[in-house]
């Protein structure tokens, strides 16, 4: 009798273990398939960016509007935050370097860490918060309202008309705004280097130029472009996965934004790894 109960318990445990493995496997497969689909769609969009046929009067109009919404409308707030945050940050970093007796390293810290690492990250976070969320919601609302069906009915390619201009805008905006943030930081640097280290603008510029590493600039530019691609592509991809129900909008927006932040972290870590190598 005891043996019988023991066998039954073992069978039950085995069944539960099998069920757990099946659920985990199915979940992992689902995630892997979904990730593979997203990457293959991203590759298709990336390929289209280089096709001349993608760009016509309609896509150019969308591109100009998107650049206005993303880069121009944000300018006053972006500049204010950059001046405020950038100046305080530069002030703190310079003071810290002086206290640690690392004054001669301030050029390397400014160019290698703050300009090439921090400014793309800061810019991409601001643009994601403002435009990424807006694009995600816009796409989801278009899907719910059947506006995507309208485009398909009139033989307007969704990738060409909706994705390409927004993704190109993302790349242009992140690169330009990141450059602007770096300029503001370096501008603040002139002021703080005079106050803290007592060096003139000429010497400051010389130190910066000597500390500039061409490969760092290239990595920073590529990183900005990759950031720009994914912070617009992922919100559109998730937005287009909305169903025809209004309640699907918050679901796809939250999934999209979480994925965008995950992508930002992954890109940032990969870029830091390339610096370590």
């Amino acid at each position: 009798m005891r043996e019988h109960v023991l066998i039954l318990r073992i069978l039950n445990a085995k069944k539960r273990l099998m069920s757990f493995i099946e659920t985990t496997g199915s979940f992992a497969m689902q995630r892997a398939t979904s990730f593979a689909q997203m990457i293959s769609f991203a590759a298709a969009v990336f390929y289209r960016l280089f096709m001349l046929g993608t760009y016509n009067s309609a896509t150019r109009t969308v591109l100009v509007n998107q650049i206005y919404f993303t880069s121009i409308q944000i300018l006053p707030a972006f500049l204010a935050v950059s001046v405020l945050f950038g100046s305080v940050l530069i002030g703190i970093v310079f003071q810290l370097l002086k206290n640690l007796g690392l004054t001669d390293l301030f050029g390397n810290v400014l160019m290698g860490l703050i300009v090439t690492e921090l400014s793309p990250l800061f810019t991409v976070l601001l643009i994601t918060l403002r435009s990424g969320a807006a694009i995600n919601t816009e796409m989801a609302a278009m899907k719910v309202n059947q506006e995507i069906k309208t485009l398909e009915t009139f033989r307007i390619d969704v990738i060409n008309y909706l994705l390409a201009p927004r993704v190109v805008n993302g790349i242009i905006s992140v690169v330009l705004l990141s450059f602007l943030f770096s300029i503001v930081l370096m501008g603040s640097g002139i002021l703080f280097s005079r106050v803290i280290f007592g060096i003139s603008a000429d010497v400051y510029v010389n130190i910066l130029l000597n500390s500039t590493n061409f490969s760092d600039i290239v990595i920073a530019l590529v990183k900005c472009a990759v950031f720009g691609f994914f912070i617009t592509f992922i919100p559109i991809y998730f937005g287009l996965r909305a169903t025809h129900e209004l309640t699907s909008i918050p679901i796809v927006v939250s999934r999209g934004m979480v994925s965008v932040f995950a992508a930002i972290l992954i890109i940032e870590v990969l870029s830091l790894l390339t610096k370590l190598m």
């Binding site: 016509n56 009067s57 506006e147 309208t150 485009l151 009139f154």
Partner: protein, 153 residues
Amino acid sequence: MTFFDTEEKLSRAVQKFLRVNPRNAAPVCEDIPLLSNQEAWLNIALIKQYHENMSAQASRKLVFNWLKRLGLESVADKRNLALGDKERFLVKLLRSAMVQNAAILINRPFNMVPQLKNIDPILQALKTIDDLYSSCHIYDYDWMEQKYGALCR
């Protein structure tokens, strides 16, 4: 004008129409809405801008001329939700007419403009823009025949 006795038959006919005219089908339906993030004139101009690469200025001029002919210049800068039923229908009609050699299909017009008493205003609008399309078909249910008056006798 074609009438159907069931929703299924009508829906099949619409699908067949879209299949038969893959390059120039231009449906005016309730479930093919205007783009809500674009003004009325941009919704119409989009077809010319996308398919014929017409510049934004040229397409704007063209669309405003057509809207003027339909007496709709005042709605050009309005968006979908700000339009009345009849205005929305006419903007959709004009958008469809922008397709090259357009084969317009108006699916249940009285569904889109419920306050219409008969088909005359729609026929009048079609007549105003008759140089823009190559054919026009209207699909509706049997029980709406009376609204089409003498046309179906």
